[in-house]
């Protein structure tokens, strides 16, 4: 494992995050279908706010080319009518936009403190050695790009490795070796949680927000012991949150409302806005069957 030094922090961040633009980029590399899909992305956002589409658009161009190229940047700039510099600034900010060809499988090893100390550091070092690549580098056969990841929000399954962002939980050096060997041998092992593996380009398409009935399959296994452990233990111990009945709560809400109206201390942060009819100033009793007036400020 290469430890970061001051001159080379060992991983990309804003200091080292530059983009090599060897040529101006050609938006016409992307066909009509991509333009149509770009239009679909823009349509997800309010009229006049097309720039909001930039993040998913970059995932879309990455899903076609495997990384963000000069062409992808030119395409996004063209579609959104912003400058290529504006697009490049965004590309270089986010970790998930890759700036060199990415392998069919992006293998990410969490080396943040918890996963790292529970074995993630060893796994990252071992995979680097086996694959002969460093951080953010791709094997010669183009199968695997290895990267170390920051916290992937699955600490209760540490140490975590993801392949194209699908979880492989509770990894060891041995299990991670087995995993990458299978990937290099053309297999696609099932993730511990999540959907069956697909290619990096295909997963980027999902992240761009394009799903099929298959990718949304609602039955895919997505839970595990740590997720459910507390609730199972509660059942075992016969414990639960206080119960409530809907009838009772109507009355209670009214009571609470009355109590609040009677004595409501306010802090400086708490001052109701002049234009809001909320809270103290609201004229109606709570819990009543008054017709709502949606969208209408009172």
């Amino acid at each position: 494992m290469t430890l970061p030094t001051n001159s080379d922090a060992g991983r990309e961040n804003f200091r080292t995050s530059v983009i090599q633009l060897d040529r101006p980029g050609d938006p016409s590399v992307f066909g009509e279908q991509t333009r149509a899909e770009a239009a679909q992305i823009i349509a997800r956002y309010p009229a006049g706010q097309s720039r909001s589409a930039l993040l998913p658009l970059l995932h879309l161009v990455q899903s076609e080319q495997g990384y963000v190229t000069s062409d992808g940047i030119a395409f996004c700039a063209d579609i959104l009518d912003i400058t290529k510099a504006q697009v490049s600034a965004v590309v270089t900010f986010y970790t998930m936009y890759k700036r060199s060809p990415t392998g069919e499988y992006l293998v990410s090893v969490c080396t943040n403190t918890l996963c790292g100390m529970l074995g993630g550091d060893d796994i990252f070092a071992a995979l680097g050695q086996t694959l002969g690549v460093g951080d953010n580098q791709t094997t010669e056969d183009g199968t695997i790009t290895l990267e170390h990841a920051e916290c992937l929000a699955a600490c209760d399954y540490a140490p975590i490795v993801t392949v194209n962002y699908e979880f492989f939980d509770n990894q060891t050096v041995a299990s991670a070796h087995k995993l990458v060997n299978a990937l290099r041998g053309g297999e696609r092992p099932m993730p511990t949680r999540g959907a069956p593996l697909c290619s990096f380009k295909q997963i980027e398409r999902q992240i761009a927000g394009f799903h099929t009935a298959e990718t949304l399959a609602p039955d895919a296994n997505t839970s595990g012991v740590p997720t459910e452990i507390g609730v199972h233990l509660a059942v075992e111990r016969g414990e639960s949150a206080p119960s409530y009945a809907v009838e009772r709560t109507d009355a209670r809400t009214a009571e609470a409302s009355a109590a609040r109206a009677a004595s409501q201390p306010t802090s400086a942060h708490d001052a109701p806005l002049e234009t809001s009819a909320s809270d103290e100033q609201h004229p109606q009793d709570s819990g009543g069957a008054a017709e709502p007036e949606p969208g209408k400020g009172t």
């Binding site: 959104l80 920051e150 839970s223 012991v225 997720t227 509660a234 949150a241 609470a256 709502p292």
Partner: protein, 429 residues
């Protein structure tokens, strides 16, 4: 302390993420009730409940809602912060995976209360599993008439756009998240103005965490007093504690706010390898660490602060005697350096120098002055950085020096890390 599953109560049941199963277990009854109430009453109810934001800061959710100016003629937005990434934090993704409809129901109620018709769920890009699950759930909700126009015949219109991030911890900061949602680099904005008046597209915006919004349907059904039956008055409700690290049974334990590590550790079967507890975080890496002295600190927003830390995201990362605290902090510093957005000097330069110093301490070559330099650096970051990321970076450094100064000294005197595991890794360099 009993376990009190509310947000997690459907976990482990038969495919709780499917709308039919959700409906069978009270799903969307909170929405039906809410749509029969005046919006201002909903704001008052959530305020009464004293539901405090589960994203870390603990700001009262009802107040956030109340700050939205009404009758201003502008569109209002609700933005869900599902950019879970604080080291140690792992409860929003399982919630979205197992019970996405509770969040969606909360979003619709929030929209109705603050008079917004459009909500955005900002999910971190790496969380493809949650992206798929929430996408499918939104489609189900739309098909059933819980989203779209004239919801349940109320005349209220509301829809949800799922927006996927691209890998940047800073986007969990609410104004950075808004910039990112607008298609820019995710850098925090100067506050004030706050998002409540100048948020997404410069319009009034509520930004709430996943767990905060998922709590709302229960508060609507159970009432504010029911919610306050759990936990202390200043910080009520159930709290999903995420235990990870050197613990026998890591996972999600939902108990009243104000539970202690001693109680939680007992539930989780104790330490995992027969070693003593050494240090732990009460709410993610950005909250000052605790030690075995703090086993009985009540873990709620106010008590954790009184004890010198924060409840944060109730992410308890637990480490034992064989774990090197200097190495742990070094790795967190690597993280903050990587994730600093570079906008402000104290955070950008401070995290950079942190890493250099920790590198020396671990690998050898650290000096006694380095410890003083770390504290001096910390003084120049804390309260001087643009957003809370800089403050968060300071937390593990200063708290570990305070609690484990002798271990720092051992690194200096031994010319490197005295722990065998870490030395092996340094040697591999």
């Amino acid at each position: 302390m009993p376990l009190t599953p509310v947000l997690t109560k459907r976990f482990g049941t038969d495919q709780p993420w499917k709308i039919e199963n959700y409906e069978r277990l009270d799903g969307y009854t909170g929405l039906r009730k809410a749509l029969g109430m005046p919006p201002d009453d909903l704001i008052a109810l959530v305020k009464d409940s004293n539901l405090r934001g589960r994203g870390g800061a603990g700001f009262p959710a009802g107040m956030k809602w109340q700050f939205i100016p009404q009758g201003d003629g502008k569109p209002h937005y609700v933005v869900v912060n599902a950019d879970e990434g604080e080291p140690g934090t792992c409860r929003d993704l399982p919630l979205m995976m197992n019970d996405p409809h509770s969040m969606i129901e909360g979003i619709i109620i929030a929209c109705y209360a603050v008079r917004a018709e459009w909500a955005f769920v900002y999910i971190r890009g790496e969380a493809v599993h949650a992206i798929r699950r929430v996408t499918a759930a939104v489609e189900e909700a739309r098909a059933k008439g819980y989203l779209g126009s004239d919801i349940l015949g109320s005349g209220f219109n509301c829809d949800i756009t799922i927006h996927n991030g691209a890998g940047a911890y800073i986007c969990g900061e609410e104004t950075a998240l808004l910039d990112s949602l607008e298609g820019k680099r995710g850098q925090p904005r100067l506050k004030p103005p706050f998002p409540a008046t100048n948020g997404l597209y410069d319009a009034p915006t509520v930004v709430n965490n996943v767990g905060t919004l998922a709590s709302v349907p229960y508060i609507v059904l159970g009432g504010a007093d029911w919610f306050k039956e759990m936990g202390p008055a200043g910080s009520p409700g159930p709290c999903v504690y995420s235990l990870s690290g050197r613990v026998q049974n890591p996972g999600q334990y939902e108990a009243p706010m104000g539970s202690t590590l001693r109680e939680l550790l007992e539930l989780a079967g104790g330490m995992s390898r027969g070693k003593d507890l050494k240090f732990w975080t009460p709410g993610g890496s950005s909250t000052p660490m605790f030690s075995a002295k703090h086993l009985d600190v009540a873990l709620d927003f106010d008590s954790a602060v009184a004890a010198g830390s924060m409840n944060g995201t109730s992410a308890l990362m637990i480490f034992d005697q064989d774990d090197c605290v200097v190495r742990a902090v070094k790795k967190w510093c690597d993280f903050y350096l990587h994730e600093s957005c570079g906008k402000c000097t104290p955070c950008r330069e401070g995290t950079y120098w942190y890493v250099g110093i920790y590198q020396r301490l671990e690998a050898g070559g650290g000096t006694i002055e380095d410890i003083a330099t770390l504290l001096d650096l910390s003084d120049n970051i804390l309260g001087r950085s643009f957003c809370a990321l800089g403050d968060g970076a300071v937390s593990p450094v200063t708290s570990s020096i305070q609690l484990f100064r002798e271990e720092y000294l051992a690194h200096v005197e031994g010319d490197g890390c005295p722990f065998p595991g870490a030395r092996a890794l340094v040697g591999a360099h």
